[in-house]
């Protein structure tokens, strides 16, 4: 009876973790879907124009995604926007912006390096996102078989921890590449381009999982000692 209820609890927690993980991935995907579609559309327009030999350079633009901070201080509102529910224009400042820039006629130095880096880092991100649930499921399969303090479980947990830390590192590098590109191309009168920090929660998660792996490792040692006590 106790075994069944433990298994049920484990099953419920596993399903919950998988649902939350999928929700996290999907929410990231959907929050960036507009940006993705915009970039995809721009890229395919460029590619079509080039293939048809109709290179209209004035119409070829690249979308740049910018994190901004208003100069000179935190209370500055350098722009305005129309408020349909109120009176005319209101003062505003932007934190994020999309800029259309014609980088075909005005070549951007190291553009190919930045593009290649972005592709490699994006692929790495995909690999990491795919590998984490694989190790998680392997861990759960062994836990369901009552193999808790097992060397393979410790290895799987360590892999998950390292992958989470790697995810933060890759996000950081991606943001650095984007920032390096943006400051090369733009300089605004009223805004400073910001470097977007990667989410530190991934570091915390990675460290916590590695900590649990150490606890499991200690448990495994105790289990071995207990088994070899005659």
């Amino acid at each position: 009876m106790e075994f069944n209820s433990k298994n049920r609890r484990l099953g419920v927690l596993t399903v919950l973790a998988i649902i939350i993980y999928i929700a996290l991935i999907l929410s990231s995907f959907f929050s960036g879907i507009d940006d993705f579609m915009l970039g995809f559309e721009e890229g395919s327009k460029k590619s079509t124009s080039m293939k048809e030999g109709k290179i209209q350079t004035k119409n070829l633009t690249t979308v740049y995604f910018l994190d901004l901070k208003a100069k000179p201080g935190y209370s500055t509102f350098p722009d305005s926007i129309s408020n349909m529910k109120g009176n005319g224009k209101i003062a505003i400042r932007y934190d994020k912006a999309q800029a259309h820039y014609n980088d075909f006629t005005e070549k951007v130095a190291n553009r190919s390096f930045y593009d290649t880096s972005q592709i490699i880092l994006s692929l790495l991100t995909l690999v990491i996102i795919a590998m984490i649930p694989v190790f998680f499921i392997k861990l759960n399969v062994r836990l369901k078989k009552e193999l808790v303090f097992d060397k393979r479980n410790i290895k799987n947990m360590r892999c998950i921890g390292v992958l989470l830390l790697l995810y933060y590192l890759v996000s950081f590098l991606q943001n650095w590449v984007v920032y390096s590109m943006n400051i090369q191309v733009f300089e605004f009168r009223d805004y400073v381009i910001q470097f977007e920090q990667a989410d530190l929660i991934w570091v915390l998660l990675g460290v916590v999982v590695l900590l649990f792996a150490e606890v499991l490792s200690r448990g495994s040692q105790l289990k071995e000692e207990q088994e070899l006590t005659i």
């Binding site: 071995e224 000692e225 070899l228 006590t229 005659i230």
Partner: protein, 74 residues
């Protein structure tokens, strides 16, 4: 390991096999073999008591401390 198990010596003296001893003291032959070959991490007093009772010996006849190995390990 600095603690040496002389169980095989005592078993030879009393002319008793591993399987017979394990049956008498209620421990599996596997576990007794682990003890005999020095791979055990610890021994319960209850187990030691049963072994000494069956082999009619003292704990010191079964367990021996090797000072040299202990110093090397340190």
């Amino acid at each position: 390991m600095p603690i040496i198990i002389n169980l095989d010596v005592m078993m030879a003296k009393r002319k008793i096999s591993l399987n017979e001893l394990s049956e008498r003291i209620g421990i599996t032959p596997t576990n007794l073999s682990i003890l005999k070959t020095g791979k055990a991490k610890a021994i319960r007093f209850s187990t030691l008591e049963m072994i000494c009772k069956e082999l009619d010996c003292q704990p010191g006849d079964i367990l021996e401390w090797d000072g040299k190995t202990s110093e090397e390990e340190q």
